[in-house]
Structures are given as C-alpha cells and as structure tokens.
C-alpha cells in the first residue's frame, strides 16, 4: 500500500516538475457576469492541463500558461467561455448567462450544489417566488399542484392546522411516511403532536413542525424523491426529503441595500356550504322540537305558530333561515401577511434580515392566529480560503380558538350543527354578567344544549409556539477544489397549549382544562470534506466525505385539571383533581458518508454514495447499517452531438439505492409503565391515584431484542428532454421501491396477554411514474404564456405482513371505520357495508322493517389516490402577470361522517324525497329462502316507517358504506394577477420596484362526487396516516385578497 501510494505521489511530482520546465507567462484578468458584476469563484483552467485557479472576490485571477494555450472559464449558471492566450498578459472575460443551465442548478442532499444535468435522479424545484404568488400560512399547502409525485392533505379550515405531505406514496406501515425537512443543510422537525392526546376525540389539529418555514424567506424548495437522491441523508429520509434554501442577501440596483416590502390582505369565506333543505323544521317524526339541533325531521314549515321557538322559547311562527343561518355563525376571515426585508451584499459579505407578521382571524368565531417571524441569513468571505455563514429563524405563533373535530366533545361544531329554523343571531349574547352561559337551547324534554357562541368564545384552545432554528457554517478552502465544511444546526421548539372547557359548558359542567408543554429539540452537526478536480480534459472527479451527528429530544409535561372552583381560572390549584403526565424520549444518530462523482466530458456522470449510520434506537450490537447508492446521468444530446432546433437537450438517468431506517426510542426493553389513566368507553376515564393507590401496568407490547434496521431498495429511470430550443421541457420518471423489514408493533392475539409484538415484518412496494411538462407555447411580442403540467401515478401495495396476520390497523376512527393494511392491496378503508345480494349486488332488505341490513366488515377501497396532478399557467404581458394553479387528485375513497350527520339529521335536500308519503327503499331486494339452497328474489315492496326511518337506519349497526365516496377532486387552487410598474413610471423616486396584485386560494371545486363538504378534509392531523376519514372537520375556506410588493 505504502509503495503504491509512493508511486502515485512520484508520478504527480514528475508531472509538476515537467510543467515547471515549460515556457510560461502569467496571465491575469477580471471576470464579470453579464451585468458587469465581478464573479468570484469562477474556475479558470488551462485546457489540456491540470492547471487551474479560481477568481477571487473581485473576480480577478492570475494563472501561468503558455501562449497559444486556451483558458476555459466556467461557472455554474454561465455559459463556459474559452479564450486563447495571445500576446496580451491580460484577459478580461464577461460571461454570458446560460438560460438553460441557470434554472438547473439544484441544491441536493447535505446542501451540495449540483448542476441538474449531472443528477441521476429526479428532483422537483419550486422557486420561492412561486410560493408567495398567493401566500399560504402553512408552506406545505403552497406546494399543492406544483410538485410531481406528492400528495398533500389537510384537516380543513382550522387556523394553524397541520398539513401532511407524502412523496411517491406510502412506504411505511408504522407511520413513518413524512419526508425529512432540511433548511439550509440543517434537519428540522416536522412533527405534529395531537392536541389532546387523541386524534379522534375532540381533536385539536395543531400545526406540523415545518409549517413555520416562512415562504417569504425561501429562495427555493427542492423535493428529493428517490432513495438515490436522499441516500446521503441516511435513514431519516426514507420517505423523501424537502430541501429548503433560504434567501441570501443581494445588493440593490446600483449597489447599496435592497429593501423589500410585501403585503397581502385576504378575506376568507366558507369554501362550500351544504345543500341544506329549508322545508322542514327541527324535530322528529314530523313533530316539532325546539331543541333538536341538527335533526330536522320535524313538520313542514308553513308559517305555523309554535309556542316555543328555538332559544327564546317564545311563541311565534316557524320560519326557515337562509342556509340554516350558517353565514350568521361563520364570519369572514381576514389574513394579513406583511413581510419586510433588508438585504445587501458585496464581494465580502452578504446579509439579509427579514421580518414577517401574519395576522389571521378565522371564519370560526373566536379563532385567530398571530405569528411573527424574524429571519437572518448572513455570510462573510473572510479571505480566499475561509468563509463563514450564519442563518437563523425565530418564529413566535399564538393561535387562539382552534376548532375541535372528531367526536365525543361538546366543542365540536360542524355543518351538521345547524338547523333549518334555528336563527344563529338569537344565540347572542352567550354570557351574562355573572359569567353564566345564556341563550342555550332546550328541547321538548327540557334538556339543554350549548350555545355555540359560548363554545367558541369561552372554551379556548390556545397554542403558543416559539421556534428557533438556525445554522452556523464554516468553510475552509486551502486550495483549489478542496473544501472542508463544518456545520452545526439546531432546531428548538417550545410549544405551550391550553385547552379549556369553561365551567357551565353542557357536557363539561364543572369545567376542566389541559395544560400541555411540549419541547422538541434537534441538533445536527456535519463535517464535510470535498475535493473536485479534472483528471484529464474529459474526466472530472468530485469526492466528498463527511460525518453527521443528530440528536432529538421530545419532552412533554401535561396537566389535566378537572372540576374548577373559579370558572375562568385554569390553574391546577383551582381544580379538584390535577392529573400530571410526563413523557420523554431521546434518540441519537451518527452517520458517516461519502460520495464520488465521476464526470466524463460533461455529458456522463456516475455518482456513487455510501453511508453508514449508527442509531441509538437499535440494539447496540446491531445498530450499524450501511447503505449505498449509484446513479448515472447521460446527456445523450451532447454525447452524440444531436442538438438541433427540435432537440436542444436530452438526458437519460438511472439510479439504484438501498437505504435503511431505524425506529423510535425505547422499543427494546420490557417495562412497567406508571399509569395515570384507566380508560373507559367514550373517553369516560378514571385516574390514578385512585382511592390512594398508584398504578403500574406492564407494557402491552413484547419488545424485540434483535431488531434490524428497515430496508428500502429502490431504482429509478428517467428521461429529461428539452425541445424546440427549450420552449418545451419534458421529464419522465419510472420508479420502484421495495420496503422490507418494516419495524412494526404487529398485533398479536390479545389472548396471549399482550397486544403487540415489535418485530421486523412485512413489505410495502411503491411503483409509479411521473411526467412533468413545461412549455412556453406562446411568445407574441410582450406576451408570454408558460404552462406546466405534472402527473404522477403511484401504487403503494402492501405485499406481505406476517404469517397468520390478516391486516394491520394503520389508523382508527370512530364508528367502526379504520384504515388498514392488507396484503395485496393499497391502504384500505375498512368498514361495514350493507348486506348485499350476491347475484344482483342490491342491498337485501329486512322484510319485517323495510330497512337495509349490515354486512360483514370488509375493505371498501384504497384511501390513496390513483394519480395526482397539477396544471400551472402563467401569462405575462408587459407588467401584467396572471398565474393559475389547478390541482387534481383522482381515485381513492373517503368516508365522511359530516355527510352522514347531515343526512341522518334530515338537514340536506336529498332527504326531502317522500318525506310525508310512503317510503320504500327501491334499491333494495327481498330474498326468500326456498329451503333448498335457492332464493326467490323480488323488488323491495316493504315500506319503512318514514323517510326519517330510512335515513336514520342507513347507518344502523355502524354501516359506513352510504357515506363512502370517490375522493377524486379537481380544484382551482390558486389564481394570482399582478402588475409590475415599469421603472420609467417610477422615475427617479426612491421606489425601485412596485407590483400590485390580486390573489386567491382554494377558489373553486371544479369536480367532486362528495356532496356538501370539501373532499380534501381529513380527520387526522399530519402526524398520522389516517387518510380517507373525515369527521366534523372545520369547514375549509376560499380566500381572495390583494398584494402589494415594494422594492426600495
């Protein structure tokens, strides 16, 4: 080995010595970009030699070379320039922007910049400016329709709610399907902690961790989708990675500070209103009941006088209220987003400071969100060898009055909480001077229900969240091509929540509260060494090696206080019982990684990567796991020199990768857990200490001592074409992933005394293809039309579980509806259908009652879409720009409990059919057993008791089938129209740029088969995989507003 190395060094030495004898002179010069700004870091190479240098901060270079030799100047985003050395000792170069290449410099794993042409895997880049055309308060939502291969879901119209993104389908059975988020090279948490410990019992959906990333500060987002793209991130990016690069400082026009103001004001209204019927009043079986809220099976409204109108109890005529008074309850929401930034840069430093305030008032009364974000990003080039950077974002968010959804909570207000003749205005005021709830609603039995304005205004669901994440980076470049980078990043979150039920709330009469303090800290440090060189004219090598340390801590302290003495005092000392809960987990990971990129003539690139992780969550003797990747990019248009007006660029790519995944902390030991809650049905729990006794329970899960890391093997092929001089771009990808050895708590027969066993089990495969098309169909004078279409089809199939195990519950909703994994299928909705005749498929009617009957629980369709797509258009004419985004989700099913409640409550128009006549379920069939194994069939002719009997019996015995819909939808997601004033209009004023725009989000539902509600809504927050189940979600909103952008 030693001899071998000596030999290489001798050869290199001989080469250097050989050069020193050549006829040389020193050539100097200055390199600028197309605007004349000096370009630092331009590679200057003597063609045909290994001699090279880089320009300094002023764009100056100096190199020794011979007359007649050619100097090659290359810089990312610029066309490579060649200059032959002549008599002059000075060669100044003004480089030209390479329009095609400029857009294709991407930030890949670990913050490494690469030219897109060298990548052997697909990426999707969203520019920061596209995120703020119609701004979102949760950055995840602003990716809707813009990225190929992702699915984004949210829980409806809650302020500060979570949004979930999954990339290329689901790969994990244990809920690890959320991608890794990386901001300026630092891993940040995208976790979401459910509001009150349950995702279905009156759940409060609080934001996912990544939602605080400020779109105004984002330069670009790169979505890394395949394992080859994320392999350098190791185990935590098995579900993909989202790489966020924040804006760096830029100088203003003509030098000096650049000051920008960006201000949006938007107004929100209900996106969709159910088709409420207005003909029949509250009540049951045709009888009026003033307290039958959300149950309109009363008499026909004909102006008759009743002696107890709702709320007031006064005598008066029954009258329908338009749209069930829903507009009198929900208000117009307002969102104001103001961003102010100052940036500056010169050859020595760049600096950008940004301040953003977001103020929202939700459509739900009492709901508001206020957020302030301060961002700083600065870098200093100390000399030609040393650079340092520093970036930090601090966000403080206060959300108030987050709505409850799910079930079993008096605070839930859904579309089914309104009635035809219930005037919401009569609920005001809701509180008297003594603090008691007033204007409640009383039914014929004398039972009272809450005043919804009391619920909204007196029962707060508050969250105060402080978040700091940032990084410090030092880069040392002792000589050309070599860099040593050290980076330390931290993400600190302090999340305080208070969920209250004021004393006097029906259902929580004595008042209670949950005070919840959650802390999530994550620290990541990297040391990366990289070296790139050109071995020959044609062969370049780029090697990189590094080490990463990542530590995550989650800590939660929760106090539940029950039965308050003083009504509005939410302190443990004011509660008759205080139940404390503490939770803590810590996980650490070491990773060592390396990559080698071999380029040939800039048209072929082979990249090999390797990483080895060591995880604290795995057994100490089995905690090391290695994963390699290989990818190849081949620009055939250059290789075969077949560029033409038709084909301007063509690349094929292929990649293969094997990555691993560790698991959660503390799965290896058998424990007895201290218990504070003895659970009961309907969350009617008891607590310890109980009669003076503390309690411990054995873990219900048998731990695994021999856990192995999860394993994902993936490959991908892609084709990237640019046609018609770049006017049409086409990117296609086919991929297949195999996810083995999933670490899962598999259910075992509870009759063994345990409920689960942690083990490596099962396999999930993802297969799909993506097409992305970008085109400029029209350029006529000043008019330009750009259009982009993305389409992706992914099938995530559960290939196997384990022997004897039919299915695994992924998420469970109320009313016997579950999301399950069953071999041979995608994630399925599992619920009760009606009992159906095998021959005709029609529901079998009980001849005694005329009602449908329940069948056996079964899988009723995939909860994941068949395909998703987006269509983004941008029309520019002089200063005008019109952009639109259409978002499509096609296939999959969802179950809506809101629709179920609307129909069983007789609230919507379809329930008007035969209200007062004989009601026969004509879809049904009656089977008579002939006793010989055959049946006689006849159309159902048995009437139900009433239309009410039909609709209210449809879900008897937990049947969910009538409320399961095709979840497909097409939405007009975004429209933005802006006008940028030409500089001549601004003259010499201090204003350098002015853009005025109108913007709208979530504007139209162009197609959906789901009645009454927004088909996007889901019950579960981003922290769970409960796709396809909706229950009493907070209604989603349509927002329209305007935007002003000023540059000084």
């Amino acid at each position: 080995m030693r001899t071998h190395l000596n030999g290489i060094l001798t050869l290199i030495l001989a080469f250097v010595v050989h050069l020193s004898f050549a006829q040389e002179k020193t050539v100097t010069g200055n390199v600028t970009d197309q605007t004349g700004t000096p370009l630092p870091g331009v590679n200057v190479l003597v063609v045909g030699t290994a001699t090279g240098t880089q320009t300094d901060f002023d764009g100056n270079y100096s190199i020794r070379a011979e007359v007649g030799q050619v100097l090659q100047f290359s810089y990312i985003g610029q066309k490579t320039a060649n200059r032959t050395i002549g008599a002059s000792d000075v060669i100044n170069v003004q480089m030209e922007e390479d329009a095609q290449a400029l857009e294709e410099v991407v930030v890949t794993a670990l913050g490494i910049q690469r030219e897109a042409r060298t990548l052997g895997y697909g990426t999707d880049i969203v520019e920061g400016e596209d995120l703020v055309k119609a701004r979102e308060t949760n950055i995840v939502n602003s990716l809707q329709g813009k990225v190929t291969g992702v699915q984004i879901t949210n829980t409806g119209g809650n302020l500060g709610g979570s949004s979930k993104i999954i990339i290329r389908g689901v790969s994990s059975l244990s809920g690890r399907n959320n991608p890794l988020w990386v901001v300026d090279g630092v891993l940040i948490n995208d976790a979401q902690t459910p509001g009150n410990g349950s995702r279905i019992t009156g759940t409060r959906d609080f934001a996912n961790g990544a939602s605080v990333i400020n779109p105004d500060d984002v330069e670009s987002i790169n979505v890394l989708k395949g394992a080859a793209a994320t392999a350098l991130y190791g185990s935590r990016a098995a579900a993909g990675a989202i790489i966020v690069t924040t804006k760096r400082g830029k100088a203003g026009e003509g030098g000096g500070a650049r000051v920008e103001l960006n201000s949006s004001t938007r107004f929100e209204s209900l996106f969709r209103i159910p088709d409420y019927q207005q003909e029949y009043a509250m009540g049951t079986q045709g009888q009026y009941d003033a307290g039958s809220v959300g149950f309109d099976w009363g008499p026909r409204i004909v102006g008759q006088t009743v002696d107890n109108l709702p709320i007031t109890g006064e005598s008066g005529p029954l009258q329908a209220v338009k749209d069930n008074g829903i507009r009198d309850f929900f208000r117009t929401g307002i969102t104001r987003i103001n961003n102010f930034s100052v940036s500056d840069a010169n050859e020595k430093f760049d600096y950008r400071i940004s301040l953003t305030s977001t103020n929202q008032e939700g459509i739900l009364p009492g709901a508001s969100l206020d957020r302030i974000t301060i961002g700083l990003n600065a870098g200093v080039r100390h000399n030609d060898k040393l650079e340092s950077r520093f970036g930090i974002q601090y966000t403080t968010t206060q959300s108030r009055g987050t709505g409850a959804s799910g079930a079993n909570d008096p605070n839930i207000i859904s579309f089914a909480s309104f009635s035809s003749n219930l005037d919401q205005n009569l609920f005001k005021p809701w509180i008297d001077e003594s603090g008691n709830q007033i204007n409640l609603i009383t039914n014929n039995q004398g039972n009272v229900s809450n005043n919804p304005f009391w619920i909204r205004n007196e029962n707060a669901n508050d969250r105060d969240d402080d978040r700091i994440f940032g990084n410090f980076q030092l880069t040392f470049k002792p000589f050309d091509g070599f860099a040593l980078t050290a980076r330390v990043g931290a993400d600190l979150q302090d999340d305080r929540r208070l969920i209250e039920n004021s004393k006097g709330t029906v259902g929580r009469l004595f008042g209670d509260f949950i005070s919840d303090n959650i802390r999530r800290n994550e620290i990541t440090s990297d040391i990366i060494a990289s070296y790139n060189t050109n071995i020959t004219d044609d062969i370049s090598v780029n090697v990189l090696g590094g080490m990463q340390y990542n530590a995550r801590i989650f800590e939660r302290q929760q106090i539940t206080g029950v039965n308050l003495l003083i009504p509005e005092l939410f302190s443990p000392a004011n509660a008759e019982q205080a139940i404390p809960v503490r939770d803590f987990t810590e996980a650490r990971l070491f990773g060592i990684y390396g990559s080698a990129e071999f380029g040939y003539k800039n048209w072929a690139t082979l990249t090999l990567t390797a990483r080895n992780d060591f995880s604290s969550t795995l057994p100490t003797d089995n905690n090391s796991y290695f994963y390699p990747s290989a990818s190849m990019a081949f620009v055939f248009s250059d290789a075969f020199n077949i560029k033409s007006d038709f084909l301007s660029f063509g690349k094929i790519r292929a990649s293969w990768a094997k990555v691993g995944n560790d698991t959660d902390a503390y799965l290896l030991n058998f424990n007895f857990n201290p218990i504070t809650v003895a659970t009961g049905q309907y969350s009617l729990n008891n607590n310890f200490p109980f009669n003076g006794a503390l309690a411990y329970s054995a873990s219900a899960t048998i731990p695994a001592a021999d856990l192995r890391p999860e394993e994902q093997t993936s490959y991908e092929f892609g084709l990237d074409l640019k046609l018609f001089n770049g006017r049409l771009g086409l990117d296609m990808a086919y991929f297949k992933n195999q996810n083995d050895d999933q670490i899962l708590n598999i259910p075992i027969p509870e009759t063994t005394g345990f409920a689960f066993r942690t083990t490596n089990v099962g396999r999930v495969d993802q297969e799909g293809f993506e097409i992305s098309l970008e085109a400029t169909p029209l350029i006529i004078g000043d008019f330009t039309w750009n259009t982009g279409i993305n389409f992706s089809r992914v099938e995530s199939e559960v290939v196997s579980l384990t022997e004897g195990l039919d299915r695994v519950v992924i998420a469970s909703g109320f009313n016997s509806v579950q999301v399950v994994a069953e071999p041979g299928k995608e994630f399925q909705l599992y619920a009760f259908p009606h009992l159906r005749d095998e021959e005709t498929g029609r529901p079998i009617i009980d001849p005694n009652t005329g009602r449908r009957q329940a069948g056996q629980a079964t899988t009723l369709g995939s909860v994941l879409p068949d395909w998703t797509g987006g269509w983004v258009n941008s029309f520019s004419y002089k200063g005008f720009n019109l952009s639109t985004t259409i978002d499509v989700r096609w296939g999959g099913v969802m179950k809506s409990s809101t629709v179920e409640a609307l129909q069983t409550g007789g609230l919507v128009k379809e329930t008007l059919l035969n209200r007062e006549g004989t009601f026969i379920d004509t879809q049904g069939i009656i089977l008579t057993d002939n006793g010989d194994g055959t049946f006689t069939r006849r159309d159902n002719d048995v009437p139900l008791l009433s239309a009410q009997d039909f609709w209210t019996s449809l879900n008897d015995n937990s049947v969910a089938e009538p409320y399961i819909y095709d979840a497909s939808f097409i939405k007009l997601r975004e429209v933005g129209l802006s006008y940028t004033f030409p500089s001549r209009l601004l003259g010499d004023s201090f204003i350098k740029g002015l853009t005025f725009g109108v913007e709208g989000r979530n504007l139209l539902l162009l197609y959906s088969e789901v009645p009454h509600i927004d088909p996007e809504a889901t019950l579960f927050g981003s922290g769970a995989d409960g796709f396809g189940i909706e229950r009493a979600s907070i209604p989603s909103t349509r927002s329209i507003g305007f935007n002003v952008k000023l540059t000084f």
Binding site: L9, I12, N408, N444, N447, V448, P478, F482, V506, G507, I527, A529, G545, M547, Y549, E576, Q577, I579, F584, E586, A587, R588, F590, I592, A665, L668, N669, F672, N673, P674, A678, T679, G680, Y682, L684, N685, N687, F688, F690, A693, A695, S697, A698, A700, P747, P749, E750, T751, T752, G753, F754, A755, G804, D806, R807, S816, N848, Q853, A857, N957
Partner: protein, 473 residues
C-alpha cells in the same frame, strides 16, 4: 503532496471522530418507566381498569340486553353486534387485566409461599375474568391463553372446559390462602387491594362464592357438579353485605362511576333531568305495586309508566333515580343476595346442603334491599330495617320463578350477571326488541376484529341468537 496529505487527513479526521460514538448512543433506556413493579402498584391498575372499562362499555351498553334498563346507546340488543364495539372489553380482559395478573402471579409463584396471598388474589380475579369472558363470547382461549411463548395463536376452549377450569382456579386460590405461612408474608397495602384491603379471609369467601356462581352455570349446562356444589356449600360463603365485593368510587373527579359520567360528559348534570337511563319493562313489572322498597330507591317519577323496550325515558315516563345513577355508585362484583338466592334455588331443586329454600329466599331479598337501602357506599335514601323486614316477611313462600325473578332483581346494574341469569333461568321472560333482526334477545357477542385478524385459530362467529352451552336449550 501536502494537499493530498491534507485531504487524507481530513477524511481520516472525519472517520476518527466516530470512535467515541458508542457511549453517546447508549441512551435507549426510557427514564420514566420501571423494569419491575410491586404487586401493590399493579393490582390497583387491574381493579380500576377492569371497572372503568366494564362500567362504561358493558354497563352502559348491554344493560338493555337483559332489559333492566330500557334503552342505551350503541347497544347490540338488536342482534348484530358490531365487531368493533366489543374489542375494548376483550383487550381489557385478556391484555390489561389477565396479562398483568399473569405477571403478578408468576412473580408471586417465584417468590414462594410468602406471596401466596398475592398469588391467590391474582388467581381469583383471573378466574372471575375468564368466567365473564365465556359469559360474553362462550368459547374463548383458556388452556392455551396467556402463554404466547408456547401458544402464539391460542386455541379456543369450549364453555364447559373453561368453567371447569375457572372452578379449579378458585380451588387453587383457596389452597394458596390456606397454605400461606403465618409470618413473613408479603404485605398487601389497603390501597393495593381495592376490594378487601388485603383481608385474605374475605378473599377466601369471595373465591368460594364465585366458585358457586360458576358451578351454577355448569349445572345448568348439564354437567354433573353436584358434589362440587355440596363441597362449596360446606365452605364459608358470602352471607352479609359486609362481605360484598365491589370497587368503591369516591365520586371525586377521576373516581366516578361511568353510569353517571356518560351523562355528565354528553348531556347534563344527572339522569333524572337528562332522561338517559330508564327502568326496563321487567324491572317495572316486578317492582311496580309490589311494595318492594327497591322500586322507590331505583325509579324516580315512578307514578308514570316505564319508557318501554328500546325507548329512552322522557318527561312522560319514569326514569332511574339519581339515588343510584351517581358518581359514587360502587361497581359491584358480587353481593351476598346472589348466594342466598342460589341456595334458595338449589334447595327448591332438592339440594339439601343448600338449606331451607324460603329462609335463603328471604335472606336474599333482605340482603338485596338492605344493600340498596342501607349498606351501599354513599347511600342517599335509606330504608329502615323495620320496613325491610315488613316487606320481606310479607312475601309468600317462593316458587322457583320467584327465586329467578329475585336473582334478576338482585343482579341490578351487574350487566354480565344479569344477562347470565336471564339466559340461564329464562326468567323473567324477555320480549325480543321490536327492531331486532334476530329471533331472541342477544345471546352472545361476536369476536372482535383484532383477535380475528391476529389469531387464525379464532372460530367463525355463530349468529348472535345462538344460545350458549350453559343455557342448555
């Protein structure tokens, strides 16, 4: 050369920095849990978790199956029990209760005779749980249950095997108690034993009494258990309410009976104002105009008619009284009236060891009324001993049907026991609910999906009106 050295050094440094990572990674121990637990900490979990789930799931749900309550939410009374609705009880019994008890029992057995008391308590509760499991689902894993190492997919045993096993477990527990050494015994704290505060004499009586309960099902099923019944009758059995087994609810937040909290959580302050639980028709029929003091204790507005099967009470009907639907209503596991009335039944059927039928019958009625009117913790409205005696003495000599009816009344608010009585005795005769899609009252639950999905040995579900073996129909 220098450059290459620098490059190599850099990479070597990065590699070298990993050498100290092992210590940093050795953190995978949860600081907030224990690796072992004292029985005084595990048993309270078992007592309270069992009761919390039972009262809220079975108590509020199947009490309209034996029809002592007129109607409930999500009831399976109409025949098709949603397979999802019974899973929590199944999990509570096998995992939360039996799972923990099997660990307690194993530890106690390893500790030897000084922990016989702990072992006996775990054995008695386990046997009681198996009795309830077979009462709800009939065939359930018993011989292969709770031994995942040997039987990862336990087979299901028939009801007779399970009940015989339950009887044997009570015998085992009694033997453990009888062989407990006189000193050095593990100290069970008053809070650790939520039923008897560590009083093993009471546990012995309970074991014998619960054994009689199981033998009565075996007897009804046709098994020849006369000798075992005679032996059981010769051992101390429950005779007074002071020996009753129940979980005491203080009524304070976090320690409230679910029969009330279902009302306070979803409706309003109490049952009488919110009309949630109404008396079932058989209760109304047996008590109205009978002079039985329990009518006034249990039923408010009892001059009005009962709501009727499958109907909730309203202001035009009677309703269960706030006397009993209250936060500190104890969760009753066994009351002595049940034993008295078994004895009365056996005596009427010629079992001499059971004593005098009429005496036992009157004792049973007296014990039951005294429980509700005097002895029940937190009693609100009391009935004087004189009034009780006057009523009891006025009763005619009982027929078997009278005994059955009193067994039914004495099992009020004990959902599984009451259901067993009406299935075992066929008295009171219960009407099939009007909207039922089976031919009788509900006879069984379906197996829950978690077990069906995870255990390939789970049998197919019979229809829910198929009688269990013990009904002997």
């Amino acid at each position: 050369m220098k450059r290459i050295r620098l490059i190599l050094l850099s990479f070597a440094f990065i590699l070298g920095s990993l050498s100290s990572c092992d210590d940093k990674l050795d953190i995978n121990t949860d600081p907030l849990v224990a690796t072992s637990a004292d029985p005084n900490a595990v048993l309270p979990y078992v007592f309270v978790q069992y009761s919390s789930r039972k009262v809220t799931e079975l108590g509020t749900r199947i009490c309209d199956v034996p029809q002592y309550i007129s109607d409930t939410f999500n009831s399976p009374k109409n025949g098709r029990t949603s397979i999802f609705l019974t899973g929590n009880t199944w999990g509570m019994m096998y995992n939360q209760v039996l799972g923990n008890l099997s660990l307690v029992k194993a530890d106690a057995a390893a500790a030897g005779p000084t922990s016989n008391n702990v072992n006996a308590i775990a054995t008695i509760i386990s046997a009681h749980i198996f009795y309830e499991l077979t009462s709800i689902w009939e065939d359930v894993p018993f011989t292969e249950a709770l031994n995942g190492q040997e039987f990862p997919f336990p087979n299901f045993d028939d009801q007779q095997t399970i009940l015989n096993g339950v009887v044997a477990m009570y015998d085992e527990a009694i033997a453990l108690i009888d062989s407990t050494p006189s000193s050095g015994v593990f100290a069970i704290t008053p809070a650790g034993d939520q039923w008897y505060g560590g009083d093993m004499a009471s546990w012995r009586i309970l074991a014998n009494s619960l054994k009689l309960r199981a033998l009565m099902l075996l007897r009804n099923g046709g098994a020849n258990v006369d000798a075992q019944i005679n032996a059981t009758l010769s051992q101390p059995l429950m005779t007074s309410n002071g020996q009753a087994a129940y979980l005491r609810y203080s009524g304070q937040p976090g320690a409230q009976n679910g029969m009330l909290t279902i009302i306070t959580a979803f409706f309003g302050p109490d049952n009488e104002s919110q009309n949630v639980f109404g008396p079932g028709d058989p209760i109304d029929a047996l008590l109205r105009d009978s002079g039985d003091p329990r009518y006034d204790l249990w039923v408010a507005r009892n001059d009005l008619p009962a709501p009727g099967i499958d109907l909730f009470p309203d202001n035009t009907t009677s309703v269960l009284s706030n006397n009993i639907i209250r936060a500190d209503l104890p969760d009753m596991v066994m009351l002595p009236a049940e034993i008295d009335l078994y004895k009365a039944e056996l005596a009427l059927e010629g079992v001499t060891a059971a004593g005098n039928a009429e005496t036992n019958y009157r004792n049973g009625v007296r014990n039951s009324i005294t429980w509700w009117g005097q002895d029940i913790p937190g009693v609100i409205t009391t009935v004087s001993t004189a009034d009780i005696d006057a009523y009891v003495n006025s009763l005619p000599a009982p027929t078997l049907e009278d005994v059955y009816n009193q067994q039914y009344l004495a099992a009020f608010l004990q959902p599984v026991l009451s259901w067993n009585h009406v299935r075992r005795n066929q008295f009171p005769v219960l009407e099939t609910p009007p909207a039922s899609n089976i031919s009788t009252i509900l006879k069984r639950f379906n197996y829950p999906p978690d077990e069906v999905g995870a255990n390939p040995n789970t049998p197919a579900n019979p229809e829910t009106d198929v009688p269990m073996w013990f009904e002997n129909l």
